[in-house]
């Protein structure tokens, strides 16, 4: 009897195993979209990347379609790997997906995303900032990545520390004092001499923000490297960063612990970053509330961050997906998104609509941060971000070696060029 029951138990277990195995196999052979066979479109986004009210409304039905939105926030420890895994496995792919500012990484596989021009994306182009729109167009001219928010940058500074150093503290006066990078470095020298504070955490941040504000970047649309050409924007940015390192105005803070401590203590009295950084600063150094101000950074503002929406090629109803995207990114919705989760709009109409309210709540004293970034957004240049920037870029690591490791700047530049070229050759680019 005992033997029999054991055998039946085993048979039962084996049967269950076979069942679950066949279930798993059938799941593999089903269509790639997560929501295949339902009236839902599935969106992957991460917290604070989309307008919460729009998602709530679309859950009851996307206007103009017979679909409902199922918004999911998968664990985003490594967003790009996660998305790649589902696309490579052709299983559990969302119908709409948010992608961060590194969209150019997907240009190599642009055929895995729907070209929104098919649904008349061009007619929406004039509503968005040119520079933001151009980031989402692939080199072959397909429109695969639709603008969500944008990240115009500015020069954050501690007015109280500046006052101690006898420097101008009024935003307009500071903006006027730092029209060029040499002027900015000069200001940093005075600050350093009188208070011992630095203007910025490190050279990588400075170098990246100069590049972010430049109409010319590392490569052109054809994939030719521009950094080796005489007078290239990259070499200019490099030279400015090297001068700043030598002048001692940068903090050489390479690790987050040091950086955060720098802002909290005032040892770092400035930063150059996009509009969204205000929220990070607020969380990091809440006690410095009221002493920060915003001034225009030298030359012109750049763009740092800001995400996009894409439609994977497996989407079961791309037209409805496109309808959701345009419906969720109108000027009114973007203004609402700013008020709810501080996403800075990518459509100028949202900024002039008058419904947005400054989210800084006195963090910048009497200064209106919204008005400030509105003017900055108008000066951001259009630029082409090449996919090669993401996989072959040793300039930022080498500039850090100059600052933290005391490496000779000329040798570091040559190393950066050689290493970048070596990787480019590996990927079949002739350099």
């Amino acid at each position: 009897m005992a033997a029999l029951s054991r055998r039946s138990l085993l048979t039962g277990a084996a049967g269950l195993g076979v069942l679950s195995l066949s279930a798993a196999l059938s799941a593999c052979s089903s269509p790639a979209s997560i929501s295949a066979g339902t009236d839902e479109l599935t969106l992957w986004y991460w917290p604070r990347s989309m307008n919460p009210s729009a998602l709530k409304d679309a859950a009851h039905g996307i206007p103009g379609t017979n679909k409902r939105l199922n918004a999911m926030t998968p664990a985003n420890t490594n967003w790009d790997t996660r998305l790649r895994t589902s696309l490579a496995g052709n299983a559990d792919v969302p119908d709409i997906v948010a992608i961060n500012s590194n969209v150019s990484l997907y240009f190599f596989d642009e055929d895995m995303f729907v070209d929104m021009n098919k649904f008349g994306a061009q007619s929406f182009k004039s509503q968005y900032f040119d520079w933001k729109w151009s980031y989402g167009e692939t080199p072959s001219g397909r429109m695969c990545f639709f603008p969500i928010d944008s990240g115009p940058t500015g020069f954050y500074y501690r007015a109280d520390v500046f006052a101690k150093a006898g420097l101008p503290t009024d935003p307009d006066a500071v903006s006027a004092a730092v029209r060029t990078w040499p002027e900015w470095i000069e200001l940093g020298k005075q600050l350093r001499a009188k208070t011992g504070s630095h203007l910025l955490i490190n050279s990588t941040q400075l170098f990246n923000q100069i590049v972010n504000a430049s109409p010319e970047r590392y490569f052109n649309r054809a994939g030719d490297p521009l950094y080796t050409r005489p007078g290239s924007a990259i070499k200019d940015a490099w030279d400015i960063a090297v001068t700043a390192i030598k002048a001692g105005v940068l903090g050489n803070q390479q690790i987050a612990t040091d950086q955060n401590a720098g802002w909290v203590t005032g040892k770092t009295a400035g930063h150059i970053e996009a509009v969204w950084w205000a929220q990070i600063l607020l969380d990091t150094a809440p006690k410095t509330k009221g002493s920060w101000r915003l001034a225009s950074q030298p030359v012109r503002a750049g763009n740092s961050g800001g995400s996009f929406l894409a439609i994977p090629h497996t989407c079961q109803d791309p037209e409805a997906a496109f309808k959701f995207i345009t419906w969720s990114q109108t000027a009114a919705r973007q203004a609402q998104a700013y008020n709810e989760v501080q996403l800075f709009p990518s459509t100028p109409a949202a900024l002039t609509g008058g419904t947005m309210k400054d989210a800084s709540h006195g963090f910048f004293g009497p200064q209106d941060s919204l008005a400030f970034f509105k003017t900055q957004a108008e000066t951001v240049p259009s630029a082409f971000i090449s996919p090669y920037e993401q996989i072959a870029n040793y300039f930022t690591t080498e500039i850090a070696n100059v600052e933290a490791g005391g490496k000779d700047p000329n040798r570091a530049w040559d190393d950066a060029v050689n290493e970048t070229n070596q990787v480019l050759r590996k990927h079949g680019v002739n350099v």
């Binding site: 790649r84 895995m112 803070q253 690790i255 987050a256 612990t257 850090a400 933290a404």
Partner: protein, 344 residues
């Protein structure tokens, strides 16, 4: 045949049975034991799906150029060719070995001493044992964050202490100087694994019969002589085990530098270990072909070092370990030694 329904593994069959008979019944007895096979099947199924398949597939990927989602292009040995000429890879190899040497040697030495002390008759023995083992079960990411705060260059506790005793100019660039980075990572490894190795040594010590110690004492041996002439030689297999596991652990070092310094491994890539470089290539540059090639290069290195370790620590020809090895290699060695003895 009826005696075999108890589920004794096939390998344990009496050896004196004629080979021909065993072969004839093999398929039939395999069928007879199906409940046993089914009950061990889950592990093997999971292993095939999550272990064997990825391992085999990574060999395939290492011969291709693949960004993780698009088309896979077969490139033959190109990834390996590139690897040989990649200065950053060789730098990661040397980083890994430097960190391994400056962490493993002090770690095993301290562990041995700690185990020897714990083996004495002291108070609160179990408290010390637990306390020593706790670092090993603490989350690596949490440890790295704490170490990041302690060893931070400008605001860290370590430098604050150095400045307190050595004046305002004292202090080490723990996380930006190439040597500072290596030493910090080595300290993390030592902190985490000393207790683990000490517990293993302790188990080895307890297996040594006290009669040997007693007779050594009777013969007039001192503590040092007992330690060097009895404890160390008797611990030889245990030491071999810890050396091999620390070699494998040291060569696959990843979390410590990644959390502490990010994917590039800090200033001058001083903290870029082989696995971190592999991760950087696969998950930051999305060059999965090259990442897999690095993984297999690491496999070859680990294999090489396991063999060297084994030779170094086991030393003599008539070592114990060949006989203790499982499976076909062990049997082959046994046969060889048997032949040699017969030849004499």
């Amino acid at each position: 045949m009826t005696a075999h329904t108890t589920g004794v593994p096939l390998r344990a069959k009496p050896r004196n049975r004629p080979i021909s008979e065993a072969r004839g019944t093999r398929t039939r007895s395999a069928l007879r034991f199906w409940p046993q096979y089914v009950s061990i099947a889950p592990f093997y199924l999971l292993f095939v799906v999550f272990g064997a398949f990825p391992i085999v597939f990574s060999i395939v990927i290492s011969f291709t150029d693949w960004d993780g989602m698009g088309r896979m292009t077969f490139v033959g040995l190109k990834q390996y060719q590139y690897l040989l000429g990649d200065a950053r890879f060789w730098q990661s190899v040397s980083n890994t070995f430097i960190i391994w040497i400056i962490s493993t040697i002090p770690m095993l030495f301290i562990a041995l001493v700690v185990a020897f002390l714990l083996h004495q008759n002291i108070r609160l023995k179990s408290f010390y044992r637990v306390a020593l083992f706790i670092p090993n079960v603490t989350s690596m990411v949490a440890i790295a964050l704490v170490f990041g705060s302690v060893f931070s260059d400008q605001f860290g506790l370590a430098n604050a202490f150095l400045k307190w005793i050595g004046g305002s100019n004292a202090g080490v660039a723990w996380l930006t100087d190439p040597w500072g980075i290596k030493i910090t990572i080595a300290l993390m490894v030592i902190w985490r694994f000393t207790g683990y190795n000490a517990i293993i040594y302790l188990a080895g010590l307890q297996a040594i019969s006290s009669e040997i110690y007693d007779s050594a004492r009777v013969d007039g041996a001192g503590t040092w002589r007992i330690f060097s002439r009895i404890t160390i030689p008797m611990l030889r297999p245990v030491i071999l085990f810890t050396v091999i596991t620390s070699t494998i652990g040291g060569l696959s070092l990843f979390t410590e530098p990644q959390v502490l310094l990010g994917n590039t491994g800090g200033t001058n890539n001083a903290g870029s270990t082989i696995v971190l470089y592999q991760y950087y290539q696969a998950f930051q540059n999305f060059d999965f072909g090259y990442g897999s090639a690095i993984a297999w290069a690491l496999f070859v290195l680990v294999l090489l070092f396991a063999i060297i370790n084994w030779r170094l620590v086991s030393g003599r020809k008539e070592d114990e370990f060949g006989r203790a090895l499982p499976g076909p290699i062990g049997r082959w060695r046994q046969r060889n030694t048997a032949k040699k003895e017969a030849g004499r």
